[in-house]
Amino acid sequence: MYAVTRKLAGQVFQRMEGHLDVVFGHAANPIRHMGALVFFFFWILAATGTYLFIVVDTGVVVSYQSIAALTGWSFGGVTRSLHRYASDAFLLFAVLHLLREWALDRYSGFRWYSWVTGVPLLWLMFASGIGGYWLPWDRLAQYSAVATAEWIDWLPIFAEPIARNFQSPDAVTDRLFTLLVFLHIGFPLFTILGAWAHVHRISRVDHFPSRALALGGGGSLLLLALLRPATSSSPADMTQAVASVPLDWFVLFIHPLTEHFGAGLMWLTLFGLTVLLLALPWLDRRARVPVAVVDPPNCNGCRRCYDDCPYGAVMMLPHPDKARREIAVVDADYCASCGICVGACPSSTPFRRQEQLVTGIDLPASPINQWRERLESWLALPAPAIPRIVVFGCDRAVPLAALAAEATLPLSLTCVAMLPPAFVDYALRSGADGVLVTGCRPGSCHYRLGSVWTEARLSGARPPELRSEVARERLQIFWADAHEAHSLRTALEQFREHLQDLPLSSVTPAFRRRSNIHVHQSV
């Protein structure tokens, strides 16, 4: 039930992402870069907040006056409005980011660290947001302050109810205001420190949106600030209860909920939810796949695996056997068992003459030798009259098994970037008429960087490059998320039609040059 719900939610996200790719392109697709957007909105908040801190006075009366004066199309007014709307977008996208990571099953196993460090950020973000609404000290501030105080008083923390600080005009002091400003700086500071910790274990963090997305997101907020400048309501008045307020539902929804369900139930729900979220990576425990293993004789210290690993799991240390050389060492706690390093390693080339292909870094559960054997034994079969295509794909995208046919060999790797580019060359020089490479769309990759690295390697932009001599008309890349089986099949058949116009392969298989080759007849 739980797994089905999550899977459905994942499909909803992937479908939406697919549609938005068409409109935005994947680099500017907001759903694909929500973490980066959350950071971006934070920087808008920090910049506008710094300005507001400089121009706003703190004190019961002066706060109201100096903030209420910031409205309309003045610089201060636009800055204030941007600050407000950026905080809404900040909270909204953080929650969506959480939902997406959950829906796409990105919270357990080696990801526990990212997940667990994300949870407290939500508390800090909402504390920052709620506190922000108090500073203008208008009727909305009064409502939120009293509601929060009454809510906190349910907990047995303070001997004297803090709601008493808001029960009469003379109870609200300038000192209290200084404290509020201090908190409204402190919570965001802890948020950004926490966000840094949240991403520091992964490499090449997508921490800033592409220019198009930044322009779109920032421009939208600016436009909104101009269309609907933020305003203050009348000044807070502790002798008058607040009857109705223009609530910011992104930040302050907690107050009506508390009023409706009661303070106790709300605390219970929030604490319960927090504990549940923190425990989720372990509640949903799955068998752990063995992590990548380095073979010292085959590692020359080239650092390619170190550069390409999306999780910073590879360290470079002095080589035990080769003087003045380095060796890759895998930190098992960080390793996702994705195999992207295998695809990066120069020792993974299938042209090597070893009977058993042993590479510098390999996945014990799915060693590179196995893939060469499967490829070779399939290519050794008698060729049919139509173009033979090898499909390299991955376990996280469209399931490939259904594509298997006399003229199609699907090979599903853990991640498509486990594919050493030389395998494409090797397949074409061993009798395949075409190679189709598929995997999650860039930005969807379960291991973050797989599709991006694959495309860069195959186009020659990143080592290990696919040799430029390889006939590019026999190579096809088609990205398709898990639900896009139909478009993948169509792409495959179109590719075969295209190959039909080219001569069928008549090469001597490359592997025939190896001595006593033993080809398995079973695939």
Binding site: V23, Y85, L92, Y143, P161, Q167, W249, P442, H498
Partner: protein
């Protein structure tokens, strides 16, 4: 990679023609603006009905201590620096509070002292919504459980305007119980 059905981003993506893509982006960014713009201040939330007023019974007061006068002999036995004529236990008396609204009991509460050894302040904070208009309010408080009856009593007919907050509090500097 020059051939047709590729959707690699290094080839031209099979996206929409440019004007359509721009129209699509305008649509989605517009929806984002509308969504944030609307829910950042709408719908208004009605916290208190327009014809209601608010009564806040909010007290923070230390209960009495049961002190005893030391006899001269007792005092003489004590070290010089500890010769306090009064012998006071740490614990404080709970506070008894009763509030009647229009003759009907609204609060009948014993406020226990806070703190592990019962030496802290006794507090109460309660928020009651009332229809605006005239109400007869009677508050009785006793901060020493050994003494019968109520040491502090305040009764008044109050006329509450819609939205008005009336605080029932205690402060010796304000003459004990007071309404504000």
């Amino acid at each position: 990679m020059s051939i047709s059905p590729s959707n690699a981003s290094s080839t031209s993506a099979p996206g929409l023609p440019k004007p359509l893509a721009i129209a699509g982006q305008v649509f989605f960014y517009g929806a984002f603006i509308a969504f944030i713009g609307y829910f950042s201040s709408n719908p208004r939330y009605e916290h208190l009905a327009p014809d209601k007023a608010l009564l806040k019974i909010s007290l923070a007061h230390f209960g009495d201590r049961e002190c005893r006068k030391r006899s001269p002999e007792e005092l003489a036995k004590l070290p010089r620096n500890m010769r306090n004529p009064m012998d006071c236990p740490r614990g404080r008396s709970p506070i008894r509070l009763e509030v009647d609204l229009n003759g009907v009991p609204l609060v009948q509460h014993t406020l226990k002292p806070t703190g592990l050894s019962g030496d802290g302040i006794s507090t109460m904070y309660r928020r009651v919504e009332l229809p605006a208009g005239e109400h007869k309010l009677a508050v009785r408080m006793n901060d020493n459980e050994r003494e019968p009856g109520f040491k502090y009593v305040k009764e008044e007919v109050v006329n509450l305007k819609p939205g008005q907050v009336l605080v029932v509090d205690y402060n010796p500097d304000h003459g004990g119980l007071f309404f504000r």
